[in-house]
Symmetry: C2
Subunit: 234 residues, 2 copies
DNA sequence: TCTAATAAATGAATGGCATTCATTTAGTGG
DNA sequence: CCACTAAATGAATGCCATTCATTTATTAGA
């Protein structure tokens, strides 16, 4: 057991044994505050933009802010918290303006493309978003409000709005991954002979010469969802 | 520079300077081979089943096989390789049998539900699959072949088969995350008053009393995709 | 003006991780 | 029987997020 540094009781006991001698709290405000959540978010985005998500480490983040890594933990509980801040910032970039002015179909279309485009650049966030309670992400919640209101105005039965949004979102997240897939992802290699249908279908698509196959699939799926959900309106 | 252990040339040079003195290869086969990819895959699945993906470390995997961690690297290039093996094994569990016997609609429906159910338990694999060249995953390729053949037989134009499958897959992966989301994910908390449409929609869905909201959304989206894609058949 | 309280920042540790590599082990074809 | 080899070992390496006792700088209130 090497050098146990916490043998004796901590001298900074915050809330341990809170009953002892009333609640005393009369003090001043602290130092200049070099760090805050907005600054951390901005620095994280800068870092991600330059070196990708592999480059986003707490050490690198601290270094980019001229601060010790441990200092970050005064403003953020964990690295996951940093990712949450980034996620919420990005969600604010999703374009929901069409819900105010355009018909439901085109509003959904613009929103979905914008949503996919934003997170295609940030796929490592998707596992975080998918499980994230909206309470922790005000901008995300704001987006849901705008979209829900648009669905309601378009005549959607209220009890199906959330399910429809969830389905669209699921499709959007999955499609965001597609965008990042390598071009040769469907190259069946030496298995080509044993997979004639699939290999033929891949070749047939390639012969079309689309520059972005992911866009074709996204468009196909999105239009099917829009058509199918549009029929639910009353 | 502490203790540089690789100063002198390696004694095990495999392919360095391959021209030197012809190709000589006359030797015996090695020892008993405690380890192989099938065993590693099985052990990884056992570990994941017991402790989840956090429990899947190279050290834990080695320990479960009574072997040193470094021994794994004789059979696998990286941890990502292990995840690939697991992924391919799981894909083989996806039910594609309906494509042999049932009409296209119900075959797609069964396949999609099965696919989602398998990977809902293994969401950490989704980022791996989404970018995985099919060459590296024979079972995955086999699944694509069966599905492609089914689409072709159903009258799908060949050049749209891959896009349709990709769109369905995207929806399936995104929906797999949904399954794992906490029940209170849409609780707007103290922001409820400022998000009346969304909060109302959430309450309205909750009032329906579905035991699995993720299933409702998945069904809604899947039926829309099946209906939309079904119309493409000739 | 002094002092007590405080939030923020520091620096040194901790434990875990995947991966590398020189070396050893144990079978086998010639 | 021996040269060769694949597989296994164990000890590093470097990176990572996170913790914690301590120091610093600020300010409210007596």
């Amino acid at each position: 057991m090497p050098a146990s540094p916490a043998d004796s009781r901590s001298t900074t006991e915050r809330e341990t044994i809170p009953k002892t001698g009333a609640v005393r709290r009369r003090a001043g405000r602290p130092a200049a505050a070099v760090l805050d959540q907005a600054g951390i978010t901005a620095a994280a985005l800068r870092l991600i933009g330059k070196n990708g998500y592999d480059g986003l480490t707490m050490a690198a983040l601290a270094r980019s802010l001229n601060v010790a890594p441990s200092a970050l933990y005064n403003h953020v509980e964990s690295k996951r918290d940093v990712l949450l801040l980034v996620e919420d910032h990005l969600t604010a970039l999703v374009d929901v303006t069409a819900f105010a002015a355009e018909p439901w179909e085109s509003a959904v279309r613009k929103w979905a493309w914008s949503y996919r485009d934003v997170f295609a650049e940030h796929t490592p966030l998707i596992p975080v978003i998918a499980v994230l309670p909206v309470t922790d992400a005000p901008q995300t919640l704001a987006m849901y409000e705008t979209v829900s209101a648009g669905f309601g105005r378009a005549g959607f039965p209220e009890e199906r709005i959330v399910s429809a949004i969830v389905a669209l979102e699921s499709f959007i997240f999955g499609s965001a991954y597609d965008v990042t897939a390598p071009a040769d992802i469907f190259d069946s290699g030496n298995m080509a002979e044993s997979t004639p249908s699939f290999t033929g279908a891949v070749r047939s698509l390639a012969a079309q010469g689309h520059e972005k196959p992911a866009d074709v699939a996204f468009s196909l799926g999105l239009e099917a969802l829009i058509a199918g959900f549009g029929a639910l309106r009353v």
